[in-house]
């Protein structure tokens, strides 16, 4: 058992740290849920990509550095510790890219990945539909065969980033006659500016258009933008969902950095005699470390060739509830300033509140933990 990094990894860390120290903007970019902020974050992606820091784990041919999971985690640690901006390209990099690596064609990878990494094309996800939140198999949006491609019609919702993004990916029903709801679905990429697409931004609790509804009316998608075989969309999407729930969505570096900021806030604002506050700050510090270590253990298993399966549900429940508790502690430390919308903790707090809902609600995740990790009987679902 070993928690130390080899000298090459330490060198990689030093390189990343130096680059970040030289390039991270001095003051935070505007919120990426605004048009202005979106553009600023897009520019930041280009900066990252220019020096191959945008998607370090990708092969060099697509603009990455081909690093292993250990280095990827080290990079994330450095990235968030440096106070670098949120990643506007995250949906593409952590949801679509792994799907392309597993199921896409070489042509698709070559065409899609480099502009994804550079921020030239920002991707939105298009999973949910109004009547299909947790119950993804009940999707109704359809893709109908036409010459050289498909025509998409229907409605998608909770499409993160879609208010300002360029393209989207999701699954559509291509065979309504398939005997089971999981069958007859196809994984597609499409252009958000294509004829027939209407994007209606939806305001989050704080009013920012963090997601959108997509109305699709015979939107043409060429065959080249089908990922994998038609009809295999469910299986392919589930592997993406696994990614979303697992390691790649919330790297420990984010929480280590957040816990560090909370500790700084506590030292600045907290009454050192207030043990009630102290206990909550201590829990945040311990939680970030636990999440980091849990991830190192998982990464070690992954590196040893094991697959990470239902354990990612433990991961999801932990970080999402941890994140809220951390931000609530910060608000309590701030006292009357907590409710100021422009405060440094207000937007991250609102953001944290979505954690237990998206990427599979925590109720579903706990069902999965109980059924797949503990072997308890399946409930009605």
């Amino acid at each position: 058992m070993d928690l130390t990094h080899a000298p090459e990894v330490a060198a990689f860390r030093a390189e990343a740290r130096a680059w970040l120290a030289a390039h991270v903007p001095d003051s935070p970019l505007p919120s990426l849920e605004t048009a202005e902020g979106f553009a600023a974050h897009r520019a930041w992606e280009a900066r990252l990509h220019a020096d191959r820091w945008s998607a370090v784990s990708w092969p060099a041919e697509y603009g990455g550095r081909g690093v292993d999971i250990e280095r990827w985690l080290v990079f994330e640690e450095e990235y968030w510790a440096a106070g670098a901006p949120g990643r506007v390209s995250q949906n593409g990099i952590s949801l679509l890219a792994p799907t392309l690596f597993d199921h896409g064609s070489a042509e698709q990878r070559a065409r899609v990945l480099p502009p994804m990494a550079s921020g030239e094309v920002i991707w939105a996800q298009a999973w949910s539909e109004p009547e299909s939140g947790s119950d993804l198999a009940s999707l109704r949006s359809r893709a109908v065969r036409t010459g050289g491609g498909w025509l998409l019609s229907g409605q998608k919702t909770w499409s993160s980033r879609a208010a300002f993004a360029d393209r989207a990916f999701g699954i559509f029903r291509t065979d309504p006659q398939a005997p089971k709801p999981h069958q007859g679905l196809t994984y597609l990429m499409f252009d958000l500016r294509a004829p027939g697409v209407t994007v209606r931004p939806i305001g989050r609790l704080d009013g920012k258009p963090a997601f959108a509804e997509l109305f699709l009316d015979e939107v043409f998608v060429p065959d080249a933008d089908v990922i994998g075989e038609p009809g295999q969309g469910w299986r392919i999407a589930m592997s993406t969902t696994g990614n979303e729930r697992g390691l790649t969505l919330r790297s420990p570096g984010r929480f280590l950095a957040a816990a560090q900021r909370l500790r700084a806030l506590w030292r600045a604002e907290g009454d050192p005699a207030d043990t009630a506050a102290r206990d909550r700050v201590a829990d945040a510090v311990v939680g970030a470390r636990a999440y980091e270590l849990f991830t190192w253990a998982a990464a070690s298993r992954f590196a040893a060739g094991e697959r990470i399966g239902a354990e990612s549900s433990l991961n999801k429940v932990f970080w999402s509830e941890y994140d809220i508790a951390l931000h609530e502690t910060a608000l309590d430390l701030l006292g009357p300033d907590a409710e100021l919308a422009e405060g440094a903790w207000a937007e991250p707090w609102v953001f944290s509140l979505a954690g237990p809902i998206y990427a599979g609600t925590n109720e579903i995740q706990r069902d999965i933990i109980a059924e797949r990790l503990l072997g308890l009987p399946k409930g009605r679902r």
Binding site: T157, R204, L205, D206, D332, A338, E339, A354, E363
Partner: protein, 334 residues
């Protein structure tokens, strides 16, 4: 001993509820958040027509319109205000009425004569800061008067705040830091005594408002989980959903009698206990409502958001949980 609202008290609450149900409050809240205070002011004026604000003012000064102090009736009324989501400095206006009325009772009648009739009649809204409260005045841009009481006991009518108003995480709230100067109205220990009373009322009425906010959140969520289906069944049939809503009801139902008792006795520790319990219950109700609505609850489009965003600021306003816990034991020491 009959620890239940009297028939008259229930009737009063029912009257308010009827008025509010007919008043399209959500539209007024959204307008308020967009800077249009018209519908909110009109609503307040209709509420004042029921005598609501007069309940905070001492009837001993009959010429000033006071019908009170009737804290139980006022608290029951503020539960309704919370349930309906009424925007604006309503707690603050009532607390200002208490401050002025109490000051008059202690012999300092000038400020009451000048301001109280307008407040009682619902013609004007007021806001205020008090020693022991936070530094921000709520919705000073919408209030006719902004009162400040300094720690040394100076009551002033504050001028414009320093800088523009600040946005809250609840768009229907705007905060400003009143300038320390402004027109002096009174000073001395009587002001401090009146301010302590006003603070207790502000805390009590915020607790009542929290209770109503929590009730509205619970009711909306119960409605939603009965009709929303996933996996072929209403999600309200899932035991995890049921238990979470059961816990929400539990917290609200045990906060309610604390609010009643605080209104009856107005002793600081009971007021603090009521605020603690109601504030935490309402915030927990908001977190439950959000989770069980899922993504749609996370948007500003659903009216639910109007209550969701209110829950946390109200939990902290006029006494955070920590401050209330301290007050509970502080008084009971020895």
């Amino acid at each position: 001993m009959r620890f239940l609202p009297t028939g008259e008290q229930s009737d009063f609450a029912r009257t308010l509820r009827g008025l509010l149900d007919a008043s399209q409050v959500p539209a007024a809240v959204r307008a308020w958040g967009a800077g249009d205070h018209g519908p909110g002011r009109a609503l307040w004026s209709r509420l004042a027509g029921t005598g609501l604000c007069a309940l905070a003012a001492d009837e001993a000064h009959g010429d000033l319109g006071g019908l009170g102090p009737l804290p139980v009736e006022l608290a029951l009324g503020f539960v309704e205000l919370g349930r309906a989501g009424v925007p604006g400095p309503v707690v603050e206006t009532a607390a200002a009425a208490v401050l002025l009325s109490e000051l008059a009772r202690l012999g300092e009648e000038g400020p009451a004569k000048r301001f109280l009739p307008g407040l009682v009649a619902g013609e004007a809204l007021a806001t205020l800061t008090l020693p022991g409260g936070g530094p921000y005045a709520l919705d000073a841009d919408a209030a006719a008067y902004c009162f400040t009481v300094s720690a040394a006991g100076g009551l002033r009518l504050a001028g414009g705040g320093e800088g523009g108003p600040l946005r809250s995480t609840d768009p229907a709230r705007r905060l400003s830091r009143p300038a320390p100067d402004g027109e002096p109205l009174a000073t001395g220990p009587r002001v401090l005594a009146a301010a302590r009373t006003a603070l207790d009322w502000a805390r009590l009425l915020t607790a009542a408002q929290c209770l109503g906010v929590g009730e509205a959140l619970l009711a909306s969520t119960v409605r939603y989980v009965k009709q929303r289906t996933q996996f072929g069944t209403p999600i309200g049939g899932f035991q995890a959903v049921k238990h979470r809503l059961a816990d929400t009801l539990l917290a609200l139902e045990f906060a309610r009698p604390l609010v009643w008792a605080a209104a009856l006795g107005l002793t600081p520790w009971e007021v603090a206990a009521a605020k603690l319990a109601a504030g935490e219950a309402a915030y927990a109700a908001a977190m439950t409502a959000l989770q069980l609505h899922g993504a749609v609850g996370y948007t500003e489009e659903l009216d639910l958001s109007l209550w969701l965003r209110k829950a946390r600021p109200l939990r902290d306003a006029w006494g955070s949980p920590s401050a209330c816990r301290e007050a509970v034991l502080g008084e009971l020491k020895g």
